[in-house]
């Protein structure tokens, strides 16, 4: 009797609370959509994509069991004829490493694009009571959300969404990758090679691009700030969790105490009940806060994607510089050949017994000139490629900032809303406790 009445009370205020909060959330969502609504014709407008399910699978013989998770991607086309045709529906199972492979291929194919990051393979910035196990169902589900988000981002990207491999990945039952799937090992070698190269390029560049350096700097600042913030968030969350859970002890003491008292019993019992609620409510709050943390984490990983773009730009620039140095080398040798009347050359020729005929010389100069032409063409193409790259990359970075501002703003607003919600909860709890105590004699 006692507890049921208090339950109703608590439900009531929770409801009011929730309504208010959802209003706030939809408001922010609405704003976000306005900002992001671009006129580009992207895959996402023609195809609904969702990852509906994750499943644990076991691989290998009994003694060498390997657990892994697979994710069911379901797609539904609104417009079957869009760009070469979509299957009306698709449902395929993909595992995490296949997502990695897809991302790797996109990265190779579109070096000037900031490829959206994948969710983390292993849980990082975890709270104490969270499992960091790879096959923990909560973690797998959060990764499912993250992977879905990745697909949505790729499918709404103006360049990436047209990729045939992506379409196959989303819908094809059979082989989707151009690469040898066996390339699991090869892929890592390639990635390692790429990383090595990118480390050395920044050292070898003669005159690094200021704009790119700026982006690189920004991305490292973004990573360090978000990293610090996430670390702090985890610490705060752990403390707060402990504080709330410790209040359950008050709940226990109050209810034991209420059994001792004749006149104070009811009030104490109620107060104890509210303390229990206070302790229990933190679980849900933390789960919601974890979602916000995941959103911030995505941008932490975007920092790496930005770094990747910078490295690829630097490699393109390196090509130009290489071609330029080739050209200057050829020009140098040409000037040397032209000035061959020099004393030394003659001496050299006599001594070796290979005196050059004018014809020979002419032929040699011609080859050099041809080489120069080739080198010039090379420089030209490399430079145009670089300038194109820079232009596209600049677009990409603009696009990234736009999305980032909108997304982070939403995440931050959600964080604030969560804090408000928690404060409200605390406020209500203690008001109820006070009321309950009011009944004491």
């Amino acid at each position: 009797m006692q507890s049921s009445s208090s339950n109703i009370v608590s439900n009531n205020w929770e409801e009011v609370d929730r309504k208010e909060i959802t209003n706030l959330v939809t408001e922010t969502n609405g704003r976000k959509e306005n900002v992001l609504r671009v006129k580009e014709d992207v895959l996402l407008h023609h195809l609904d994509i969702s990852i509906v399910e994750a499943e644990k699978r076991i691989n290998g013989p009994l003694t060498l069991k390997e657990y892994y998770s697979v994710y069911l991607i379901e797609t539904k086309a609104n417009d079957k004829n869009w760009r070469g045709g979509l299957s009306p529906t698709g449902s395929v199972w993909r595992r995490y490493s296949e997502f990695e492979l897809l991302r790797f291929q996109l990265e190779n194919k579109y070096p000037e694009v900031i490829i959206p990051p994948l969710p983390e393979k292993k849980a990082s910035f975890t709270r104490q009571n969270q499992s960091s196990d790879n096959i923990d169902p909560v973690f797998v589900d959060r990764r499912r959300v993250g992977l879905e988000n990745f697909l949505l981002r790729v499918a709404s990207h103006p360049i990436l969404c047209h990729d045939q491999v992506l379409l196959k990945f989303l819908q094809s039952d059979r082989e989707w990758s151009d690469l040898d799937v066996n390339a699991d090992g090869g892929k890592y070698v390639q990635q390692a090679e790429f990383k090595l190269k990118s480390i050395s390029t920044s050292l070898r560049l003669k005159k690094p691009d200021d704009h790119i350096e700026e982006i690189r700097h920004y991305s490292s600042e973004l990573q360090s700030s978000l990293g610090n913030l996430l670390r702090l968030r985890v610490r705060l969350a752990d403390r707060l969790f402990a504080i709330h859970k410790l209040h359950a002890n008050y709940g226990r003491v109050f209810s034991e105490w209420s059994a001792l008292e004749k006149t104070m019993g009811d009030g104490l019992q109620k107060a104890g009940h509210y303390m229990d609620c206070y302790a229990a409510a933190i679980d849900a709050h933390m789960e919601e806060e974890d979602i916000v943390a995941d959103q911030l984490k995505e941008y932490l990983f975007y920092g790496q994607a930005l770094q990747g773009l910078c490295s690829r730009h630097q490699m393109a620039q390196l090509e130009v510089e290489k071609a330029e140095s080739q050209l200057s080398m050829q020009q140098y040798s040409k000037s040397r050949s032209l000035g061959q009347d020099g004393y030394l050359t003659k001496l050299w020729g006599k001594w070796t017994g290979t005196t050059e005929t004018p014809d020979d010389r002419q032929a040699k100069i011609e080859t050099i000139e041809r080489n120069i032409d080739e080198a010039q063409v090379l420089v030209q193409t490399a430079s145009t490629q670089l300038s194109q790259f820079s232009k596209r990359a600049a677009n990409e970075v603009d696009r990234f900032h736009q999305h980032k501002n909108a997304n982070l703003q939403e995440s931050l607003a959600n964080y604030v809303i969560l804090q408000m919600k928690l404060s409200k909860l605390g406020l209500q709890t203690w008001k109820h406790v006070k009321e309950a105590l009011e009944d004491l004699p």
């Binding site: 706030l24 105490w257 501002n405 703003q409 604030v416 605390g426 006070k434």
Partner: protein, 436 residues
């Protein structure tokens, strides 16, 4: 001793007196630990006929010792007081004396507790401002609890404590010295004895005792929970203060999010501030009062134990009387000669003679024992009555006080959450309006 007495009568406005009264001036000082902030006032709406106010602690440094004295102002309408207002100064040891006297004279009343002499949780510095403030409040409560007590407030020693001049008070104190020591010893002996024989108590007191034990356990648990929560809170607070610097660093690189990040940083700072208030008020408002209640419950336990002792006294006497009576009847019905041991011991006397003698002895013993039984029964009944009434009263006060403590705790939390909520609500529009 004499030096400290002289100081007792010195209040802040008469510093000349120090020079006259003490030969070693250089080492002597009275330090007014604070100005008016430590000064208390009587509550105008308070209608009690005896009100006591304890305030203005002073530090006394003499060549022999350093101590703190407190000013005690009394306001009363009771006829047994000559005047309506009194002001005296007392030090902690005076309070101790009073409490000991009261517990000896009224073993079965629940004597309010004094703050502990050396608390394990306190800092080592006994002259620390916080320590003195906290002790001052507890001493104030002690005196007012006595003032509210129907029996204890009429006690001569209490009244002397409130009104006597230093000289009067010290002579008064000396007149009790012997008795106090004796009382203590006999009490401890009784306590020892009580652990040997634990006779069945009446249901009423059995219940009381059980209740008191359990309540004290609950209070202790609450104290412990409070400490653990406090520890976590302090750590949380420290972490929360890191929030703003991190956000400020980030802001520098995010022109579009800058305002929102700033708003969040400010909100978390406000929250930290409100949480700091909660952390700071935890000790004076929750842990100290709870701890004090733990001590109050201990004195209830003492009172119950003393009552048990009174009952035990009575039972021991009663048992002896019964034994004597039993022997008497045995002697009357069965002649002593049948008794081999007795016969052996009294070989040179005729059995009849021995029996006669024994009967006389027993007769005398029985009558004194009967008297003792009578006395101890009276004592026990008195103790029962006292304790019953006082426990009833204490129970009411206890409920009220504990309710106040808990409500204060709720209020502090409500304040904290109100401030946090306001801070976050204020930040939200700024955070949302960004990105254009």
């Amino acid at each position: 001793m004499s030096a400290s007495e002289d100081f007792d009568e010195i209040s802040g406005d008469r510093p000349d007196k120090i020079k006259n009264s003490n030969t070693i001036e250089a080492l002597t000082e009275i330090e007014n630990t604070s100005g008016d902030s430590m000064k208390g006032t009587f509550d105008e709406n308070d209608l009690r006929d005896l009100q006591v106010l304890l305030d203005q602690p002073q530090k006394h440094v003499t060549p022999f010792e350093t101590y703190i004295s407190y000013q005690i102002s009394t306001k009363t309408r009771r006829i047994e007081f000559e005047k309506q207002n009194y002001v005296v100064r007392r030090r902690y040891s005076d309070f101790e004396w009073l409490k000991n006297q009261l517990s000896v004279c009224y073993p079965t009343l629940i004597i309010p507790p004094l703050p502990e002499k050396h608390s394990l949780f306190e800092q080592i510095d006994r002259y620390d401002r916080d320590f003195i403030t906290s002790r001052m409040l507890l001493l104030h409560r002690f005196l007012n609890r006595l003032a509210d007590h129907p029996v204890l407030s009429c006690d001569k020693k209490y009244q002397a404590f409130l009104i006597d001049t230093p000289v009067e008070f010290s002579t008064f104190k000396k007149s009790f010295t012997g008795f106090g020591l004796f009382g203590k010893v006999s009490e401890s002996l009784q306590n020892m004895a009580s652990s040997y024989i634990s006779k069945s108590r009446t249901v009423e007191f059995e219940k009381m005792s059980e209740y008191v034990d359990k309540l004290s356990e609950k209070i202790h648990t609450m104290e412990k929970i409070g400490q653990r929560i406090q520890k976590e809170r302090i750590a949380y607070l420290q972490d929360l203060q890191m929030m703003q610097p991190i956000l400020n660093h980030w802001r520098a690189y995010e022109p579009n999010l800058s305002e929102g990040l700033q708003a969040i940083g400010e909100a978390s700072n406000t929250c930290a501030e409100s949480r700091r208030k909660l952390v700071d008020s935890q000790k004076p408002n929750l842990s100290v009062p709870l701890h004090e209640y733990g001590l109050y419950i201990e004195s209830a336990k003492d009172a119950l134990r003393n009552r048990d002792n009174a009952q035990m006294d009575y039972e021991v006497h009663m048992e002896q009387l019964c034994r004597v009576k039993a022997e008497q009847t045995q002697l009357e019905t069965a002649p002593l000669s049948d008794h081999p041991v007795m016969f052996g011991m009294n070989m040179w006397k005729s059995p009849e003679q021995v029996q006669q003698q024994r009967m006389q002895q027993l007769e005398a013993g029985a009558s004194t024992l009967a008297q003792q039984v009578e006395v101890s029964r009276d004592k026990m009944e008195c103790a029962n009555e006292n304790l019953r009434a006082d426990f009833e009263r204490w129970n009411q006060i206890k409920s009220r006080d504990l309710k106040n403590i808990l409500q204060r705790m709720a209020d502090l939390h409500i304040n904290m959450y109100e401030q946090s909520l306001a801070a976050w609500s204020a930040a939200l529009p700024t955070v949302k309006n960004e990105s254009q």
